[in-house]
Amino acid sequence: MLGFIKKDLYMMKGNLKILAILFIIYIGFSLDGKMDISFLIPLMSVMLIMSTFSYDTYNKWDAYSCTIPNGRKNGVKAKYLTTLILIVVSALIISFFSVIFMNFQSNLDLEKIKTFIIESIIGSLFLEAIMFPSIYKFGIEKARIGIFMIIFGGTIFLTILSKIWNLRPIISTLETLDSLGIMLLLLFILLISFHISIHIVSKKEF
Amino acid sequence: MGIIISNSSSVPIYEQIKEQIKTKILQEELTAGELLPSIRSLAKDLRCSVITTKNAYEELVKEGYIKNIPQKGFYVKKINLEIAIEEQLHKIEEHIENAVKLAKQNNISKKTLKEILNIIYEEEKENE
């Protein structure tokens, strides 16, 4: 599996430049102290993984990977794990810098940092969990469009729903869960998502 | 050891290899007890398939020119040159017999036949 992780990381080498530019923009915004876009960084790592899926598809890597020992299974494992590593690492980097900047502006608020880090990790993990099985099932192009439609349509749907119904009770139930509980729930969802992906890939023809 | 293969010849490649090795044995360019190149390395060097060189060697074994010692390879056998040459003479007789038959069918005289033989023999000599 290590080989597959290496492959995905090497493939992102070029995109790291884009990430660096984003990081500079982020610093710019953060120094101002008015706008916090740090939650975007872990999300970006999910986007980076998406680009590796695109490259894989372009060169029909999947057929080749089937012929590598345990290729089907390890390929999926590696994608999930690489993404997880990227999300956690980027979240850690952001929190590290946030602490420094806030300290610099002498308005250190550890609670605030903790909240946005957890929020962004939750968001990214959720995205990973729903995206990957759909990519394996429908291919990267269709999945990308599909996901945007789900997010876009979902938002509209929820907005309309909240106008008609009182969604307060559901939201407050969710709020009673502490962040640890949500994280555990998400890891569970991720595990299910992983098994669905493995199942899809083991049956698939390339 | 030189072996020349012609891809355009109508003689099968395995036969070309076989005949050339045979000639080398008869002319004592290859001597008894000498190890021949392996089937695979010969195939590689001649750029032909393994099955072709294998065929050639198997035929040579059958005809008694070489022997296969398992795990070691193919060796040139000690052959009785007189018998071998006898065999060749026998082949020549067969060919001439055919030539004579054909000549008689077409009413070609013995003298003409001899002349043809002389001419061909001299021509081949020059070519050597």
Binding site: F4, K6, M11, Y64, T67, P69, F206 | I13, V50, I51
Partner: protein, 280 residues
């Protein structure tokens, strides 16, 4: 175990196309050439052997095993490889973690021999360079069986020669075997021991190369002469404007029986053409 590869009654339906009961074997130490038109089922067969697509029925044994053979098999696929933003250097590091037997030294030796830059992205490579890299990558973990789909495609004659030499070196010990498909049949004439010819998803010929090149022949005759020839002596008949070509399975016997008919040597190209275009 004397066969490197055994395919028994392999069947697979894929849309309109169907592989029908494909059976053949590749003895250890030999090279088997796969020929056939584009779309005849060569790639589909290769993919089914490698489990890239799932077979409907049949048995496949690679080195005696029905699964977990990947470590001992090297492959070149027609159009599937590492993403092209990687470099040969990246591929080396990745493969080192993929195969226990990956031979870094051998890989780098061949990169040098084939003049492939180590640190340039594969997308800057020409088609021929890519194929060479794919072949080197397939061979560098010391597989016992190589499965190559069109390995000489896009290569110039010199590079093709290099590849042929590489494959002959690969089988020289007698332990390794190769299955390759190629539409450049002259490559196979110099290399393959066995020829499998597939057409429309079926094996229509399974012979050694010597059987084909030494025994098969093309008889050429006029329409009138054709009428005197018994149908059972003709494998295929291809009528052209001025002459008829007959694919003959045993040219010596044919010549004995029908004196005076021109008999030509056969090439794999002629064979393919006559098998497909000729009538019975």
């Amino acid at each position: 175990m004397n066969n490197a590869l055994e395919v028994i009654n392999l069947s697979k339906k894929q849309g309109d196309f169907e592989l029908k009961n494909i059976s053949f074997e590749l003895p250890k130490g030999m090279i088997l050439g796969f020929i056939g038109e584009n779309g005849a089922g060569k790639t589909t067969t290769m993919k089914a052997i490698l489990n890239i697509i799932k077979k409907d029925s049949g048995t496949i044994k690679i080195l005696g095993k029905e699964k977990n053979f990947e470590e001992e098999v090297g492959i070149v696929l027609d159009d599937s490889f590492f993403p092209e933003i990687l470099t040969p250097h990246d591929i080396n590091k990745i493969m080192k973690s993929m195969y226990k037997t990956w031979d870094e030294k051998m890989y780098e030796k061949y990169l040098k021999e084939f003049n492939l830059p180590k640190k340039k992205e594969v997308k800057t490579f020409s088609k021929g360079m890519r194929k060479k890299l794919e072949i080197i990558t397939a061979i560098a973990h010391h597989p016992k069986l190589l499965l190559l789909d069109e390995p000489t495609q896009g290569l110039d004659p010199i590079a093709r020669n290099e590849v042929i030499k590489l494959l002959q070196e690969f089988i020289e010990t007698g332990e390794n075997s190769v299955l390759l498909s190629s539409h450049i049949t002259t490559d196979l004439e110099h290399l393959a021991d066995y020829i499998i010819f597939i057409n429309k998803g079926e094996v229509i010929l399974d012979k050694t190369i010597d059987e084909i090149l030494d025994q098969f022949g093309i008889a050429k005759c006029s329409q009138e002469e054709l009428e005197k020839i018994e149908k059972k002596d003709c494998m295929k008949i291809y009528k052209k404007k001025y002459e008829c070509e007959i694919l003959v399975e045993n040219k010596k016997e044919f010549q004995k029986k029908y004196k005076g008919i021109t008999m030509d040597k056969i090439s794999l190209d002629d064979l393919m053409l006559l098998m497909i275009k000729g009538e019975k």
